[in-house]
């Protein structure tokens, strides 16, 4: 056994900064994923076939190709077409947000379909317009049922965020790699990063549980 954690001590502040960097882009990505995912889900359940087709095609493409490929296309390949560089941060939130929305849309679609048909009829019979019915009646009930699945998606996203290190974005993972290269020891910084990821996911899980409890009030 040859472990020496004292060597990473000077680099701890550098690595801890990675938490903020990772969190920042995870929060943005989740927000994009949730918003776009909801819109896509609504497109999938309409009777407008063009919207349905577009949403399905979108999901097919973003679920059917590797996330790392999508990330690299946005960061390296798209600038070649448009002539501007896209920052690592923007590339990261775009890739993760767009990718996540494909998965989230399927989760939300399933959640909406699981809400009793009678709820729609009751709202219609009261003259409630479609947007209000969705926002106040259908989505809150759908959300309650899909919360565990949604939390799962967010947890996956938080962990998978580590692959942004390939485009040089200075997230927690990239920082651990850099420290490893500097001190010629990899186990300690990687273990340290691993613990931080675990703690972040743990906190996320607790938040999820709390929200779930609050939503179960009406049970």
């Amino acid at each position: 056994m040859n472990l020496d954690f004292s060597q990473i001590v000077p680099y701890i502040p550098f690595m801890l900064k990675g938490i903020w960097v990772t969190l920042k882009f995870v929060v943005f990505s989740i927000s994009i994923g949730l918003l776009l995912g909801t819109i896509l889900a609504l497109c999938k359940i309409t009777n407008v076939s063009i919207l349905k087709w577009l949403a399905d095609a979108y999901t097919s493409v973003f679920r059917g190709t590797p996330l790392i490929l999508q990330l690299m296309i946005i960061y390296y390949a798209v600038p070649q077409l448009i002539g501007y560089d896209i920052s690592a941060f923007l590339s990261a939130i775009l890739a993760f947000g767009l990718n996540s929305s494909a998965y989230v849309s399927e989760i939300i679609r399933a959640g909406i379909l699981a809400v009793d048909r009678g709820q729609v009829e009751a709202a219609q019979a009261l003259g409630v317009p479609y947007p209000k019915m969705m926002v106040h009646i259908i989505l809150p009930q759908a959300l309650k049922n899909i919360l565990p699945a949604l939390m799962n998606e967010f947890i996956t996203l938080t962990k998978e965020s580590a692959i942004v290190s390939v485009i040089g974005y200075l997230d927690l993972m990239r920082r651990a790699e850099i420290v490893g290269a500097k001190i010629y020891r990899n186990f300690e910084p990687l273990l340290f990063a691993g613990i931080i990821y675990w703690v972040m996911v743990f906190i996320l899980t607790q938040i999820g549980k709390r929200i779930e409890r609050r939503m179960r009030q009406s049970d």
């Binding site: 009829e121 009751a122 019979a125 009261l126 003259g127 409630v128 809150p140």
Partner: protein, 241 residues
């Protein structure tokens, strides 16, 4: 109040309603009876366009609601509906269930909506349940809340789709009593029901449907004592024995 002409509803190849024509006057209580699968509920659901008629026309208060230009939402504000399975909003308290539509559809202030809601909850005897969630209520209580919710929109017509069919026997009466009060207050009501006693006592007009056809209509006294068709005779023999 309501006029239906040559109403036809098909689900795919299956014709569920065949050329139904009838009129319902203001303040009238109409009971729709008939065997299961006869199209009673479908007929009722056509009256507020929860089902789109395949052909034929419906007028409500002189307005042709089957006209594609008719504002469906505005029409539905005037027609309350009560469902077999209540369809209360499970994530809202009883009070919120009753005040939701007046606030969000009619833009009535929260205070006014709540005042009206308490009035209605008192009418159906559930004031003390205002802050309870629906799943804590019995079936009969749920259905009474559902009636209050529909009444909160001040409808001129109330549709009831087998309102007591999903209830335990001892809860049927509390719901029927509320409906009787409502009928006495002059509300125009269309009720799909298996409660023959209710139909006999409360209804002004009986519509008897079988296999998608309106085969007999008339006042309850003559319908129940001397039905004109063999089908209705057979049906009444079965259900009244």
């Amino acid at each position: 109040m309501i006029k239906v002409e040559q109403l036809v509803k098909k689900f795919g190849e299956n014709t569920v309603l065949k050329q139904i024509s009838t009129t319902i006057e203001q303040g009238e209580v109409v009971a729709i009876i008939g065997p299961s699968g006869s199209g009673k509920s479908t007929f009722l659901r056509c009256l507020n366009l929860l089902e789109e008629p395949t052909s034929g026309d419906i007028w409500v208060k002189g307005k042709k609601i089957t006209d594609p230009k008719t504002n469906k939402l505005a029409m539905r504000e005037q027609i309350g509906m009560v469902f077999q399975h209540f369809n209360l909003f499970p994530h809202m308290t009883v009070l919120d269930n009753v005040t939701y539509a007046p606030q969000k559809v009619k833009n009535i202030s929260k205070t006014d909506a709540e005042e009206k809601a308490y009035e209605l909850l008192e009418k159906v005897g559930l004031t003390e349940k205002a802050n309870t969630y629906p799943n804590k209520l019995s079936g009969g209580q749920k259905q009474r809340v559902a009636i209050a919710r529909a009444l909160a929109m001040n409808p001129e017509i109330m549709l009831f789709d087998e309102p007591t069919s999903a209830l335990d026997p001892e809860m049927v009466k509390e719901v029927l009593d509320v409906m009787k009060d409502l009928a006495d207050s002059g509300m125009t009501m269309v009720v799909v029901t298996h409660e023959m006693n209710f139909a006999k006592e409360v209804a002004d007009q009986i519509l008897f449907l079988d296999n998608g056809k309106l085969i007999e209509k008339g006042n309850p006294t003559s319908f129940f004592s001397s039905p004109q068709t063999d089908r209705a005779k057979y049906f009444l023999d079965k259900v009244l024995s």
